[in-house]
């Protein structure tokens, strides 16, 4: 099996006619974990939503290649089946549909008709992954995200990630609103996925999560594109100095910032 590759080239994205991402480039290979940092409103989440194919986000230029296939030519569900996963900042609630049914439908959607996962195997895998995330077994029978606390929703995103085993995952501010324990469970889940066949982009404001999931590369995004790339030390520096120092260093003005 060859190592998967995700190549984002010259991505431009608009939301409701407003240009937000302007020339975003990034390459991730299987086995790598990248962090994407930056102040509010620089377009980090927009990159994530555009790659997944949210209908509100319009890609005006660029390509997103997953192993040479352009994700941007595909419908949302096809992108997912091609191997991309987005852990969302605000996951939807789906009343009346249990987590277990949802996950099983999603897994079987990937496996295709005639190759459905045996029920017992599904239950065993689900139990195991839920234990790792210290989720109560009752979650399997609860309706998707309905009545979940913020932290429970985030953990549920990671559970889906672990069950679906994509080639690449984008974690969109998975750490926002998490207490330290929940942060550790999330990190444990992501770290358990580490392999040659899995790459990950972590979008975050803070360095904190990166103490638990060590990134190979850290990128800083401002005004719709990556303005600086470095190793884990870059995240530490940002934590100390804030983004203003870097803006000054790079000669970036504030007035260009846009809504997320």
């Amino acid at each position: 099996m060859t190592v998967p590759e995700l190549k984002i080239k010259d991505l431009h994205v608009s939301v409701e006619g407003k240009s937000i991402v302007r020339g975003f480039d990034l390459e991730i290979k299987g086995g790598e974990i990248h962090a994407l940092m930056g102040p509010n409103g620089t377009g980090k989440s927009t990159v994530a939503s555009a790659i997944m194919g949210h209908p509100k986000y319009e890609v005006t230029q660029g390509t997103v290649l997953l192993d040479r296939e352009n994700l941007l030519d595909m419908a949302v569900d096809e992108r997912a089946r091609a191997g991309i996963f987005l852990a969302m900042q605000y996951p939807s609630e789906v009343s009346g549909v249990t987590n277990a049914d949802f996950l099983r439908t999603a897994i079987n959607g990937r496996r295709g008709e005639g190759n459905e996962i045996p029920l017992m195997k599904f239950i065993k895998t689900l139990d195991k992954k839920m234990q790792m995330l210290e989720m109560d077994q009752a979650f399997a029978e609860r309706y998707v995200n309905e009545g979940f606390s913020g932290g429970e929703k985030k953990r549920n995103e990671i559970l889906q990630l672990m069950m679906l085993e994509p080639k690449f995952a984008i974690l969109d501010e998975i750490d926002s609103g998490l207490d330290i324990d929940a942060l550790k469970w999330v990190a444990k889940g992501v770290n358990s996925m580490r392999s040659e066949n899995f790459g990950c982009l972590i979008i975050t404001h803070y360095q904190r999560l990166l103490n638990y999931i060590k990134p190979d590369k850290v990128h800083v995004m401002m005004n719709g594109r990556i303005v600086k790339t470095g190793g884990p030390e870059l995240a530490l520096r940002l934590e100390e100095e804030g983004y203003d120092g870097m803006k000054a260093e790079l000669g970036i003005k504030d007035d260009e910032t846009v809504e997320a």
Binding site: M52, G53, H54, P55, A75, V76, D77, R79, A80, R81, F85, L86, M88, P91, S92, E93, V94, S95, G96, V97, D101, F102, T105, A106, G109, R110, Y143, Q160, L164
Partner: protein
């Protein structure tokens, strides 16, 4: 101008003979004759925004026959599946209106519980039936109630004596397959003071009925401090025109839960009403339905608060497909004197097609100051955010939509107490949505 309606295909002589053939007591024959007389005079109901003048409520074979069986095993497979053959203790099966199989746990019989078909109840427990027959609703409400009284050809009678708590659910199943037949079933459920029961009724018809009719009235009396859970799944085939009326009266501190799955394929007028008569009485009504094809339906769900500190929750959900057309009325009435009443209603209609129509009308009528009342009504499409979320996990659009719609109707499936019925409703929803 109501006389423009199709006239009745039968007269006094027919009714007298029908009643005599069934060995009915005089008081019952008299009600039939009164019904016939009123059916000629009274207009059809006028459900809001639904024209029913040309619906066939009257022309059908009112005396089809069923095939009695002595063993549960001899019932048709789909009926056995519905009642859960092995566990079905308290069950009454009607075929073309005729009771063909019945059972009731011995300990319940010993405690005085009565569960039998209406014809038998009239003979064996005439006084009791008379006390409750057509009491929560009236014979002269409109042409269809009158017609019901004239032609009743089936039904069930369930009586729970004082302080008897029935643990296992009690189930009545009606299935029709006689061509052009009509089911005119009258059900009476009485839960005396301090008693408790869960009752489920299932109606289904085979395509072989063709053009037929169903005229159903179920009356529920919840005594003081009694608890009744009433579940139903209606599934008449496309040619069957249905009038279904479910009426309840709840006494002091009694509580009633309705869980209704209205999955008919034919035109339907449904009236569901709960009278919270006693202080502290409460009702929880949950109703789901699906309209498909060119089906026209009208659902009126009504709660009336009379007693003080009465509580009601009314929850209605409908899915509209194809070129179907449904009107949903939710009415909460709080009478003067019903102080500290608390009534909430929610209606949500999910539209799956441009050509379908669905109206949700929330109506609150309040004649008392010291109350809490609220309503919410919405008509909308599948939430694009939900769809995106499910699709982002690799689920195809059609499957994702189906999951969302089935989830939308799940609250009633969830409440039904019998596994076979739960599964039936889930499958009906799946098939009709699919």
């Amino acid at each position: 101008m109501s006389t423009q309606l199709q006239s009745l295909p039968l007269g006094t002589e027919d009714i007298i003979r029908f009643s005599a053939d069934r060995n009915e007591p005089e008081w019952f024959t008299d009600i039939r004759l009164r019904g016939l007389e009123l059916a000629e005079e009274l207009p059809l109901p006028r459900p809001e925004k639904t024209r029913i003048d040309d619906w066939n409520f009257t022309n059908f074979n009112y005396k089809p026959e069923g095939n009695p069986v002595s063993l549960i095993h001899d019932l048709p497979a789909h009926i056995r599946r519905l009642i859960g053959e092995e566990k079905a203790e308290n069950v009454l099966v009607h075929h073309n209106g005729q009771a063909v199989y019945s059972s009731l746990a011995k300990d319940l019989k010993d405690k005085g519980v009565i569960f039998t078909d209406l014809a038998t109840a009239i003979k064996e427990h005439g006084d009791l039936v008379r006390q409750y027959y057509l009491k929560t609703t009236t014979i002269d409400k409109h042409r269809l109630t009158a017609l019901h009284a004239a032609l009743v050809n089936g039904g069930s009678f369930l009586y729970i004596p004082k302080n008897v708590v029935v643990e296992n659910p009690v189930q009545a199943v009606y299935f029709q397959d006689a061509p052009s037949s009509g089911l005119v079933a009258h059900t009476i459920v009485v839960a005396e003071t301090g008693s408790a029961v869960t009752y489920v009724e299932n109606y289904l018809s085979d395509e072989s009925v063709g053009d037929g009719a169903a005229n159903l009235v179920s009356e529920v009396t919840v005594g003081e401090n009694a608890r009744v859970s009433f579940g139903a799944v209606d599934h008449f085939s496309a040619g069957v025109v249905t009038y279904v009326s479910r009426q309840a009266n709840v006494k002091k501190d009694g509580s009633l839960q309705w869980a209704l799955g209205q999955i008919n394929d034919g035109n339907t007028v449904s009236e569901n009403a709960t009278n919270l008569e006693g202080d502290g009485a409460s009702a929880d009504t949950k109703v789901v339905s699906i309209g498909s094809g060119t089906q026209k339906q009208n659902f009126d769900n009504y709660i009336r608060h009379v007693g003080r500190a009465t509580v009601s929750r009314l929850f209605v959900r409908g899915v509209q497909k194809d070129e179907s057309n449904s009107i949903f009325n939710a009415r909460t009435k709080i009478e003067r004197g019903a102080s500290r009443a608390d009534g909430e209603q929610t209606q949500r209609v999910l539209m799956l097609s441009e050509k379908a129509r669905g109206d949700a009308n929330p109506i609150l009528l309040i004649d008392e100051y010291d109350v809490i009342a609220g309503h919410a009504a919405s008509v909308g499409r599948v939430d694009p955010e939900q769809l995106y979320y499910l699709m982002s996990r690799g689920i195809k659009k059609e499957t994702a939509e189906k999951l969302i719609v089935e989830g939308f109707l799940e609250p009633v499936v969830d409440l039904l107490p019998i596994e076979g019925v739960k599964r039936q409703l889930a499958e009906l929803i799946e098939r009709k949505v699919g």
